[in-house]
Amino acid sequence: MTAPAQPLAFPGAPDLRLVAVARSRRAPRVGTWLLLTVVLAAAFFLFIYSRIALDHSAFVLQEVNRQMEVEEARYWQLRLEAAELQAPERIVARAQEMGLTYPESVQTITVPGMGAPGIGADERWADLKALLGAQP
């Protein structure tokens, strides 16, 4: 609040008044402090959350690693099973169970266009095998 102006006692002087200005009282910056507190609190909670999330991720990672080991073991077991299924002894035994037998004699078929044995015969033979393999 401003005090009433007092005229100065100077003759001939213009009508000047000395105005005493009362000391201004600043309003407390509540908003800034509040904001700072909120930011600090948020940072604190964010930090806590990050730690928890990180810890959780570590456990998830551990579980994923464990799962990966399980799947890897399963992969090798399947490879073993596939290899055992390919064993000639098993295939021959299975074929015999199904009534398949070895031919008494092997008959060689001469295919027109195959030409004589010699240079290039292997390639022609491979072509023919591929052709025969493609037949239904």
Binding site: A58, A83, E84, P117, A121
Partner: protein, 571 residues
């Protein structure tokens, strides 16, 4: 009014003294605590921190995956899978008899043996090693007290006995190579173990944000063999049939690719099942084709006659007069086949004439004959990539006796070889005179997938022309001579029979009853793709190379040619 005299009670002085004592005691206690604090937090802080860290930090060895062994067609012959070992803490087993019966029913063991394990002293005992994880899960589900589990890598061999003597074995505990290729390539297959440093809580869980460092294990290299399982199977079947037919005590078959030197098949019977170690006999683990010696007999004539041709002493059509016998001191050499007295060199081979070959050997002389034998790979290791290879026996020529040594050596006595050495010698003729180092591994594939092909040694032994002439003579053996049972339908083949008395090392004499029957040949004869060596030890029926071993060659060569897609070259 007078004041009573001041009296200092004795009690009060005693109280003070006790207070002082308590104070001193407390002060000393505080000093002790303070001293300890200074020690723990100050002077020995690092030591205590380290001790605490060591209780949480665990260093674990990361086992390197042992490499896989593939055949030439990409089939796994040896690989490593996870397995579970069951062990017990006998001190924690509450009822050994009941637990033993249950465990035995799941693992297929003898209940009494399991009970003995569970009733034993100590705190650790293996119950069942390297079980299939599915089987171990059944045991785990039972939650038996005192029973624990341990994960272990297990080496398995899907082809079983078929390739056992070639692939070999590993030590079950450590997976280190014991025999065969597993031993020879152990360093490459094993890889390098890694290391894991991790902080764990008392329950064994990893502490997030704790110390963690890992040095990954480097996986072992894979091996890609030249071996073909399909040919190996055919060779095994043919040899088993021949042993049953002839009553031979053992036998070997070697199939080589003459151009590359790669072993396409190598079979020895009797063999063994790598999954059944309880009944494993040491003599059956041996790869006889590489380790066992025999006198080659008439199959050696290929070397003698090729040397004579290469030296320019004779040509295939050169006619020699063959005597009825050759007598040196008390040794009489004879022929066991009927033939004319005049034979060409080709006919000497076709009729397997000992006397004709001895004449050629005498023309060569000891030194030249010896040098050609060494060039063909006799008397020295081929350096095949397999442990325990025998070098054979071939004396230096200066040590040869001046009586029967040249004659005997010419026809395959006084010299001992392995089946592999003889197969490589015949492969030299099949490969236009170029000897190629036999080998099992075509390439090594490291953990990063880099392929490292093997590079076998090569050595020109005889000229292309000599090799071609020898092949024509070998074809005559099958088409006109002693090896007719080696014929293969659809293909022209060639080879040589051999029948030698068995040398008994115990007595230092030749057996009167037992022989070694062999046949070594190649097909197709004009452009050989396979060389097959067959050796039968002590056949009782069909006890000759022509009748005992030649049919095995025929069956194996046919299967190999079909498997390799070689077109027929004969009507």
């Amino acid at each position: 009014m007078s004041l009573p005299p001041t009296v200092t009670p004795r009690r009060s002085r005693g109280l003070n003294a006790r207070l002082v004592m308590v104070g001193v005691a407390l002060a000393l206690a505080w000093l002790g605590v303070g001293y300890r604090l200074v020690v723990v937090q100050g002077t020995r802080a690092e030591e205590y921190a380290a001790r605490g860290r060591d209780q949480r930090l665990h260093t674990e060895t990361l086992a390197a995956d042992r490499g896989t062994i593939f055949d030439a067609e990409g089939r796994e012959l040896a690989l490593t899978v996870d397995s579970v070992t069951v062990y017990a803490n006998p001190a924690e087993v509450t009822d050994p008899a009941v637990e033993a019966r249950y465990l035995a029913s799941l693992t297929g063991q003898d209940p009494d043996e399991v009970e003995a394990i569970l009733s034993g002293e100590g705190t650790f005992a293996y119950v069942a090693r390297q079980l299939d994880p599915a089987d171990a899960d059944l045991v785990r589900a039972a939650e038996l007290p005192g029973i624990y589990f341990l994960e272990e890598p297990k080496r398995v061999y899907p082809a079983g006995a078929l390739t056992a003597q070639v692939i070999g074995l590993v030590q079950p505990d450590t997976n280190e190579g014991l025999e065969g290729l597993e031993l020879f390539y152990d360093t490459a297959l094993a890889g390098t173990p890694g290391q894991l440093r991790v902080e764990r809580d008392p329950a064994g869980r990893t502490i997030p944000q704790g110390d963690y460092s890992v040095t990954p294990a480097e996986p072992g290299s894979d091996l890609v063999l030249t071996l073909r399982t399909s040919i190996q199977y055919a060779a095994t079947q043919a040899l088993a049939e021949a042993m049953a037919r002839t009553g031979a005590t053992s036998g070997s078959v070697v199939v080589l690719d003459p151009v590359t030197g790669g072993v396409l098949a190598m079979v020895n019977l009797p063999g063994f099942d790598p999954e059944d170690r309880a009944s494993l006999l040491p003599e059956n683990v041996r790869n006889r084709a590489v380790t066992d010696l025999f006198e080659p007999g008439s199959t050696q004539k290929l070397v003698t006659i090729a040397a004579a041709l290469e030296a320019g002493l004779v040509e295939p059509g050169t006619v020699l007069e063959i005597p009825a016998s050759i007598e040196i001191l008390d040794t009489v050499f004879q022929d066991f086949t009927q033939h004319d007295s005049l034979l060409t060199v080709t006919e000497i081979v076709a009729h397997s004439s000992n006397l004709g070959t001895i004449l050629l050997g005498e023309m060569l002389g000891a030194q030249r004959l010896h040098d050609y034998m060494v060039a063909f790979g006799q008397g020295r290791r081929s350096r095949i990539d397999f442990p325990g290879e025998a070098a054979g026996v071939l004396q230096p020529s200066e040590d040869w006796c001046i009586t029967t040594c040249v004659a005997g050596t010419s026809i395959g006595y006084h010299v001992s070889v392995t089946a592999l050495q003889m197969a490589a010698a015949y492969a030299t003729i099949a490969n236009d005179g170029l000897w190629v180092q036999p080998h099992f591994v075509a390439e090594v594939v490291d953990g990063q997938g880099s392929r490292l092909p093997t590079a076998p040694n090569r050595q020109q032994v005889v000229s292309v022309e000599t090799a071609r002439q020898m092949r024509a003579m070998l074809a005559a053996v099958v088409e006109q001579g002693t090896g007719s049972l080696a014929a293969v339908g659809g293909y022209r083949v060639g080879g040589k029979t051999g029948t030698t008395k068995k040398y008994l090392s115990e007595s230092g004499e030749y057996s009167d009853e037992d022989v070694v029957a062999s046949f070594i040949g190649m097909a197709p004869i004009d452009n050989p793709r396979v060389v097959v060596a067959v050796v039968l030890d002590s056949p009782q029926e069909d006890a000759s190379g022509g009748t005992g071993a030649a049919p095995v060659f025929s069956a194996v060569a046919l299967a190999a040619l079909h498997q390799m897609g070689v077109p027929p070259d004969a009507p």
